[in-house]
Amino acid sequence: MTAIHILKDRENQIHETGKAPFNMACDKHSLSGSVSQRACVFCGSRVVLYPIADAVHLVHGPIGCAAYTWDIRGALSSGPELHRLSFSTDLREKDVIFGGEEKLYRTLTALIDTYSPKAAFVYSTCIVGIIGDDVEAVLRRVQKEKNIPVLAVHSEGFKGTKKDGYRAACEALFKLIGKGDASAVGKYAINILGEFNIGGEAWIIKNYYRKMGIDVVSVMTGDGRVEEVMKSHGAKLNVVQCSGSMTHLAKMMEEKYGIPYIRVSYFGIEDMSKALYDVAEFFSDNSHILEKTKTMVKEEVEAVYPELLSIRKALSGKKGAIYVGGAFKAFSLIKALKMIGMDVVLVGSQTGSEEDYAILKDMCDDGTVIVDDANPLELSKYIIEKKADLFIGGVKERPIAYKMGIGFCDHNHERKTPLAGYEGMLNFAREVYYTVTSPVWQFAPRNVVN
């Protein structure tokens, strides 16, 4: 076996449960030359704001950043689809020398004239600040001329990590909130934060809440609309999924508008049900809500349970590895894998916090490897050593699994299948079942007995 060494500077971001005192480092800038799976500040902002479907998203910089994020996510819209277009100022050498402000102005105004968006987000990429563009000034001018909100997203790639990009996106969203008329928002109304409608997940979740008698004012940002965001301050509760990306916004809304927030996850039966019950409990002044919730959860669970049990039988004792963006999703995936009979041998995230990793440690059996901001070699080392049968990750993790003959489930934003909610759990279980039990692995070198 080819030896894979862990870089000394990375050792304190890897922990095997039960082996040493738990003292994990995280929240660090990625180590140069480590081949981090993380992207950059721009990526963090882009993923959060991407699903807002009636806004123009203009990437201010050379062509790469816009080209690589064109139609990248499976975030669906029930109406306009401006978010699926890729707009770039396509800065050239001349612009780098003389500045890109005029080009930004021309491009942005032309886009607004062509597409009549409800708002525009302008993402600054690495070189924008360095060449000295006063983006805010250009945007103020355009906002005045075109009479729509035009928002700067300060997402220069090097100015922090993906988490700082989430923050920049939250700051931009926060500027929209409060601009709309929230007088018609009812008493039992929530916002859903950190749900991006991948494969229609927001619709599934919204439907559950609707059945409970809860109104959803705005989903941020799945199937997002500017107008809904603008009146979201009328909601009584913010329900935050993907807490890494959106807690910042929830906190700002709590401070300014007095809206409390709860953290939830919609992945797996257990967490999904908790997300619904927690909301029902918040509105405990109305006992009908809790009753409806109970009935609905019962029905939904009964609909998927028999098949989940048969899948559990087939997968019992198989081993899973998890490497995802946010740690909160990892919590749910551990529970979801356990529910279908699988053991977790590796779990990690790109952006987990100290608190998150402490929770992960408590959730995992001894001998589980926990990693922060890992790289392909580390992930390969542990999925091989721990004899994983399944790897859950994103596109960049897929070939790592496949090359070693290990099944894979895409739980990132490029997937097209909803994995949230009860039906999503069934989709997830089926996908895991099909990949883990596929006959193709009989030909993989690791399974061929000489």
Partner: protein
């Protein structure tokens, strides 16, 4: 780096028909044995490019980054670069590290050659990986330029040390350009069958299209051996594909001017005519006729042209993507009776029209429009106006195909919505055969599907 006056635009881009230079450089470095690409800039550049390439090649794609922070951008990237090189060396033990810059490191004015010299002197810990530097500011040129510049930088920096020892009359260098792994395998097969010693650079035919592993490979097997690259000065000829590249600075021209290795530039061998030029050159060099195997391929190809010509006759095609492939496809289409009514690229070499005219004797405006610096929204506008019958290009043309209900024959890079992007053939008689069959069948299928009758013979 190429500079032309046409490389500018006054207004931004909607749905780009091009990618950035560091992507091209990363891809080229993946074709060198034991090499790892290293992008000097923000973490996102490496990660986005990895993801984009993986979605096409479906293979591991490790690309390192020096991961700039705010301090790096203020004080310069030297320390980060050296730390990154040291870490990548510890992890991967690479034979070669291909360091490509990004818009960020270029804009702050990092002196990368100086950093690399310092690293080699003081910091490399005796590992002695070859370090190749290529300047790839993403605001200058496209992925095509990044690719070609990385190939040139590799040859120029490695051969500066060694130079020429002898002239090997039977050794040829081939610079294939940005073609598929399957294309590269085929080119190697051809060169073998001509009994030539050959050095193909880059060669990602295995690194980006290999089998499953029994042991983990930090850097996937395959690629052009550095020891072979060092012998390129001894070759009796370099063949360089790309009619646009013919007018630009290149690896082949470097070898010609520095080591007197003649450089023969020719178009990407797509279709009979362009492939004939390639085979003629090999015949001359090898002193033998084209092997029967390829004569047979050529004969069957022409037989199929005849059998299928009426299915394709007079059809209007849009061709879009990398300039070199667009030129090759225009040549191919014009020899089978399809009119390339729009030849489009996001690149701006300023040469596309001239090159299309060279390969398409039937070229006349405005029946054939050549558009440089165009984006996919622009191509869609043309589609509504010109109403083509078929699209040829990357999978990024799918939105147009869907809206206009047109067949899209996926070629080149990227192919993100189908399996087998690595295994698309474009080159030689065999590649033309695959292209012809796919195009004819796509047109037949469209006709069959749109017929009320439901013919079972076509």
């Amino acid at each position: 780096m190429m500079k032309t006056n046409s490389d500018s635009n006054e207004i931004g881009i909607k749905n780009a028909c091009k990618l950035c230079t560091p992507l091209g450089a990363s891809l080229a470095f993946k074709g060198i044995k034991g090499a790892i690409p290293f992008l000097h800039g923000s973490q996102g550049c490496a990660t986005y490019i990895r993801r984009y390439l993986i979605s096409h090649y479906k293979e591991p794609m490790d690309i390192a980054s020096s991961n700039f922070s705010e301090e790096t951008a203020v004080f310069g990237g030297g320390a980060n670069l050296k730390l990154g090189l040291s870490n990548i060396t510890k992890q991967y033990e690479p034979v070669l590290i291909g360091v490509a810059t990004t818009c960020l490191s270029e804009t702050i004015g990092d002196d990368v050659p100086m950093f690399l010299d310092e690293y080699k002197k003081y910091d490399d810990g005796g590992q002695k990986s070859h370090l190749v530097h290529v300047s790839t500011a993403s605001y200058r040129g496209t992925h095509r330029n990044g690719y070609n510049d990385a190939v040139k930088a590799t040859v120029a920096s490695l051969l500066n040390k060694v130079g020429k020892t002898v002239t090997d009359e039977r050794q040829v260098n081939l610079f294939p350009g940005m073609v598929s792994p399957k294309d590269i395998r085929y080119l190697k097969e051809i060169l073998s069958d001509f009994n030539l010693r050959f050095i193909v650079l880059p060669d990602y035919s295995e690194t980006l299209d290999g089998g499953l592993w029994s042991e983990y490979q930090k850097i996937p097997d395959g690629g052009t051996d550095v020891s072979d690259i060092l012998k390129m000065g001894n070759s009796s000829l370099s063949i360089e594909f790309g009619r646009i590249l013919a007018n630009e600075d290149s690896a082949g021209k470097f070898l010609e001017s520095t080591f007197d290795v003649p450089c023969k530039s020719m178009g990407l061998p797509v279709g009979v005519k362009e492939t004939d030029i390639f085979f003629k050159s090999l015949e001359g060099l090898a002193g033998m006729d084209t092997p029967e195997k390829y004569q047979g391929e050529r004969a069957r190809l022409i037989d199929s042209y005849v059998d299928g010509h009426k299915y394709v006759a007079g059809k209007k095609a849009f061709v879009f993507g990398d300039e070199e492939l667009v030129v090759g496809l225009a040549s191919f289409l014009s020899e089978i009776g399809i009119k390339p009514v729009l030849c489009a690229t996001g690149g701006q070499s300023g040469l596309l029209k001239k090159k299309i005219m060279e390969v398409n004797p039937l070229f006349s405006e405005p029946d054939c429009i050549v558009s440089e610096g165009i984006d996919f929204v622009g191509i869609m506008d043309f589609a509504k106006m010109l109403k083509p019958d078929i699209l040829l290009g990357s999978s990024k043309g799918y939105h147009i195909a869907r809206e206009m209900e047109l067949p899209l024959v996926r070629v080149g890079f990227p192919i993100h919505d189908r399996v087998g992007g690595s295994r698309v053939s474009h080159l030689g008689y065999r590649g033309a055969q695959e292209l012809f069959d796919r195009i004819a069948n796509a047109l037949i299928e469209t006709k069959q599907a749109s017929s009320d009758v439901g013919y079972s013979y076509i």
